[in-house]
Symmetry: C2
Amino acid sequence: MTRTLAILGERWTLLILREAIHGLVRFDQFEKSLGISPTTLSRRLRALVRQGLLEGRDTGRSGRQSYHLTERGRALLPAYIAIKDWAEQWMSQPGDTGTVLTDRVTQRSIAAPCLVRDDGSAIVAEDVVVSASPTHANDSLTRRMDRA
Amino acid sequence: MTRTLAILGERWTLLILREAIHGLVRFDQFEKSLGISPTTLSRRLRALVRQGLLEGRDTGRSGRQSYHLTERGRALLPAYIAIKDWAEQWMSQPGDTGTVLTDRVTQRSIAAPCLVRDDGSAIVAEDVVVSASPTHANDSLTRRMDRA
């Protein structure tokens, strides 16, 4: 988990993955959309390929590659939707432009499902109890989330 | 959304938020848990306070503050759970230690709800159609997610 958060927390990583989810595949598409320097983009794309989130494919044009989400990368969709929903609810500012994600099958907009119990009540941050996973169980590690 | 991803994509941000969700509040707790330099931690905490994700509270000990998730920060829980689930399914390696999040109310572990339609079928990355939000609608911006 720490490793994952370190990967996702690399500068540009989330932005590149967003563009990939939005359908960009070519180097120049990412470059233009993100306003990122070619050197940095190249380095970040290589890292994402190494981490198994993107795969490079030969386009047949003198060593040019296109970049496609792997199964592992595509599995980030629910996390991306959850972040997007949070951003729209909590971080939007006047004048912000945005995107809408629609389900091709139902034509309905896609939103993150709420974190609820079987009875429909919402699980909120104050309800979270953190403990080490079973194989490393240690009661002293159990912490209640601080009621902020 | 770009601004949000840039904030979350700052080095250490996701890691600090994870620790805050897990209940850490004191500077020395973050420092020890993350193995981060005091200078960097101080800068990152200040940024998170400025961005409205954490709030500093006076502890009464010579200018020392504790750091607590704001409502905006606590609202990140579903996104955090989705990232955690993804990490455990797709990024885990032998020997990884982990944490379990349990709902205090039901004592059941908390997992991200699946992205499904009303009929229970899963929405996957290939189903996503991206378009500009209504106020900025422009058909030429509509892109189908690339089938990877």
